[in-house]
């Protein structure tokens, strides 16, 4: 349903729609359209300023860091502390460690800034065609009016029209440059211009149809989160699942090593063996360490850490977040678990298969000497990190699903035993590349994350 308002559809709205219909041949251009360009300029200026500051910092640091910049950037605060501790124990001077810390901060700062600019650009690009959106909405409202006149569920048509009109108001606000940057919270409460986007419950009409094109609706979803003070990561917060804390030495070894795609055969063989077996039962989870033991050192280390992560998974108290997963924490404190052992076993098998496909993809690129367009990251820590975050997302989705039991499973069962199993099976039969299979696996991890939106719980 598109928008649910406190007040019912009023005659005033009706008059505005009629007025709008009369003006249909000449839909007014938003008064402050240029505000888009201004916002864009602001974003770019911010990014450029940070880039200059970053370069200055990098120039002051002599030589290449012992850990590659992208790997440094990917360390979380906790991981960085452990790794830097390990480096100190190895004999690195306190000064050099400090330089490394500075480098990491700069790298992360730049990445954060780039991401913010990307998000703003995403919004601006999707929403800039306000005129098209208005035309589409008008067409939609005209369709609903026709249905109403035909006595084809007039009440529903009236409601749909009201919702579309509300959306039109939002689009107009966006067109006036009012919705790109949320105002201060205290002002937002008072300012009626933001009420429509804050109060919408859903982005569809009564029949469940999207009224506007998907990218535009996605931007509205993003605005909806912003104007309700959710940042994306706290709304769908897989970070509230804590995994094992590994030693700095283990992480450092991974951070300084690269996977060798040419030696991926033993991992692929293991994945193939697992694929040939039935779906794993709960007790299988305890058998994985023995199976992993026979693999080459680096994949073995990655898989061992992942196994420990899944075994130790528990809800964590996340500070400074608007929405804490209190339910998960409370239930865990009562002695429960976030997922079952069977789900752990299924997840572990998926991570092994993912790693095998990822290494095969690296190998394919190496063999073909072709343009890689990605799939160049073979640093063991970064590959481990990708798999670890995927594990976290799976655990989170299963955990949320268990807590809020909605009837349909959107956890490990549906995502892995349904989507991953059958899509990769078909991809293999169609002889799609390992890169395609990796992408399919990643789609399966992410595509239903929206179900963990707090409002759905």
């Amino acid at each position: 349903m598109f928008f649910v308002f406190n007040k019912a559809f009023s005659p005033f709205c009706e008059k505005r729609i009629v007025f709008f219909a009369m003006e249909k041949e000449n839909i007014p251009f938003p008064s402050r359209y240029e505000a888009f360009e201004n916002s864009l300029e602001l974003c770019r200026a911010e990014r450029n300023a940070f880039r200059r500051a970053y370069r200055k910092t990098i120039e002051s640091l002599l030589g290449e860091p012992v850990i590659a910049p992208d790997v440094l950037r990917s360390f979380s605060d906790d991981e960085a502390d452990r790794v830097f501790g390990a480096l100190e124990r190895e004999g690195m001077s306190a000064e050099d460690v400090l330089l490394l810390r500075t480098r990491r901060s700069s790298e992360r700062g730049l990445a954060h800034c780039k991401q913010q600019v990307h998000e703003q650009l995403f919004l601006v690009h999707a929403l800039r065609d306000v005129r098209t959106a208005q035309t589409l909405l008008y067409d939609y409202m005209r369709g609903q009016t026709a249905r109403e006149n035909l006595d084809d569920n007039p009440v529903q048509s009236k409601r749909n029209k009201a919702r579309a009109f509300a959306l039109l108001q939002i689009i107009s606000e966006i067109g006036s440059g009012n919705c790109l940057f949320p105002p201060l919270e205290k002002n937002m409460e008072k300012d009626f211009r933001y009420h429509c986007i804050r109060e919408c419950e859903s982005l569809r009409d009564e029949k469940g149809n999207l009224v506007l094109p998907m990218p535009l609706m996605c931007s509205l979803a993003s605005l909806h989160l912003r104007f309700n003070n959710f940042d994306v990561d706290s709304a769908m917060d897989a970070g509230c699942i804590a995994l094992a804390g590994h030693s700095g030495e283990d992480l450092l070894t991974l951070a300084r090593s690269d996977l060798e795609p040419a030696k991926c055969k033993p991992v692929i063989t293991l994945a193939k063996t697992l694929r040939g077996e039935d779906e794993p039962a709960a007790e299988k989870f305890q058998q994985y360490p023995a199976m992993i033991e026979k693999r080459p050192a680096l994949p073995k280390r990655i898989l061992t850490l992942l196994w420990k992560d899944i075994e130790a998974a528990r809800p964590a108290k996340v500070a400074d977040k608007k929405y804490e997963r209190q339910d998960l924490i409370e239930q865990y404190a009562k002695g429960g678990d976030i997922v079952t052992d069977t789900e752990r076993a299924v997840l572990m098998r998926e991570l092994i298969e993912y790693l095998a496909d990822y290494m095969e993809a690296l190998h394919e690129i190496e063999e073909s000497h072709g343009k890689s367009d990605g799939f160049t990251i073979c640093n063991a820590f970064r590959v481990y990190k990708l798999l670890r975050e995927n594990a976290r997302k799976y655990l989170f989705q299963s955990g949320v699903d268990h807590i809020y039991l909605t009837g349909s499973d959107h956890g490990v069962k549906h995502l892995i035993q349904g989507d991953v199993r059958f899509s990769t099976q078909v991809a293999e039969q169609l002889k799609w590349s390992a890169r395609d299979r990796v992408c399919l696996r990643q789609i399966a991890v992410d595509h239903d994350l929206g179900y963990t939106h707090p409002a759905l719980q």
Partner: protein, 390 residues
């Protein structure tokens, strides 16, 4: 003859499922929120999967709820989306989609019982309304209906308590899942409006996904999804009565066909066709039409990539306890329907109940009949009829 009529693609999009509150609408919006998350981490994805891979992932996340595209699209992102949305839409059976609680025999039995009680209550309410209009509220019939109504309402409430009590049995040694189940049933299971969960859960438990095969010709790819029709399918079709039973049993199959542009106009015929499995499939590539059992099922292909469904009867034995239970109670169900006949005749009803008491050795009913207490006998009959597994 089963007619599976194709729905033109353009109107399929308009004929979404009617939504009646914000929650279901919001679940439909999940791809939008998944996409917001993806956009927030896009730069990281580009590092791992490259620009092309990231685009492929993003497209499938944003738009995976409806079947679209084809597997030979030159654009790799659209190709991947075409495969993923097909696979995702195929997950309609309990083995790929249901929480364990909603596959549990006792839960299903209890839900079927509440549904039945509510069906009787609807009849009773209607009849009582009519008697009220006819100024017959002091009649014996009205009195009997009021007593039966009270008993059925109590029973519906009791079934909910029974469902709540199954938490430990379903999720042994797992307090988190026990509590989640408990809360979900407590807050969201309305014993007086059980149609939606009953239809959904019995339908999804009636079939199981058996696998998928790929075949390719010069013109196109063919995906063949294999599904097992479980014995429960036929039990559901019988138990809930010809019309509703067939529609419940076929609900998951209907959802599946709907995703691929088909529809079932006559579920009764589909149940008959399934009882004659295996199908003989005839595929006419010129017309893109698939016919089974001499026009029994006709399924028009709308997309360049063709999807076929093969149904097989699963080996017997599965869910036997549940099916036994559902079949065992059928005789008393027939008695209940006879009791609710519009020609109220207390003597006829007493003799029916007396026979039932003799057959089942139910002393409580016999005693009430001896005391000429039809209301009491009805209540004891209902208690026995709605007895749930221990």
């Amino acid at each position: 003859m089963i007619s599976v009529t194709p729905i033109p693609l353009s109107s399929k999009h308009k004929d979404g499922i009617p939504l009646d509150n914000g929650y279901y609408a919001l679940t439909k919006d999940h791809p939008l929120y998944s996409s917001v998350y993806y956009e927030a981490h896009r730069s990281e994805y580009e590092e791992y999967f490259g620009k092309q891979g990231t685009r492929s992932i993003g497209l499938s996340i944003l738009d995976h709820s409806e079947v679209k595209g084809h597997l030979r699209d030159p654009d790799p992102a659209k190709r991947m989306q075409a495969l993923f949305c097909r696979i995702d839409c195929m997950a309609v059976s309990a083995d790929l989609k249901n929480a364990p609680a909603l596959m549990h025999d006792k839960v299903l039995v209890a839900m079927s019982k509440t549904f039945e009680a509510i069906e009787y209550l609807k009849d009773i309410d209607m009849r009582m309304g009519q008697l009220w209009k006819d100024h017959q509220v002091r009649s014996d019939e009205y009195k009997w209906l009021a007593a039966a109504q009270a008993s059925l309402r109590t029973i519906a409430g009791e079934v909910k308590k029974y469902l709540l009590g199954l938490d430990k049995e379903i999720y042994e040694d797992d307090p988190v899942l026990q509590q989640a189940y408990h809360r979900a049933v407590e807050q969201h299971y309305d014993p007086f409006n059980p149609k939606f969960p009953v239809q959904r859960d019995f339908g999804s438990n009636a079939i199981a996904f058996a696998g998928i095969d790929v075949g390719s010709t010069a013109e196109r790819d063919h995906l063949t999804a294999r599904l097992n029709v479980l014995p429960l399918f036929f039990a559901v079709a019988d138990y809930f009565g010809e019309e509703q039973g067939s529609s419940f049993a076929t609900s998951a199959v209907e959802k599946l066909l709907k995703s691929f542009g088909g529809a079932i106009h006559n579920p009764i015929k589909l149940v008959e066709a399934f009882s004659m499995l295996p199908f003989k499939s005839i595929y006419n590539p010129e017309k893109d039409v698939e016919k089974k059992i001499d026009d029994g099922i006709e399924y028009q292909q709308h997309y360049v990539t063709h999807v076929h469904f093969e149904f097989e009867i699963a080996p017997r034995g599965k869910r036997s306890q549940l099916i036994k239970r559902m079949k065992k109670l059928l005789p008393s169900l027939i008695i209940m329907r006879d009791l609710l006949r519009s020609d109220f005749d207390s003597e006829r009803m007493k003799s029916m109940l007396a026979k039932f008491a003799d057959d089942t050795k139910n002393d409580a009913i016999s005693e009430s009949i001896q005391k000429e207490d039809l209301d009491g006998a009805t209540e004891h009959f209902l208690i026995q009829h709605f007895t749930l597994p221990e």
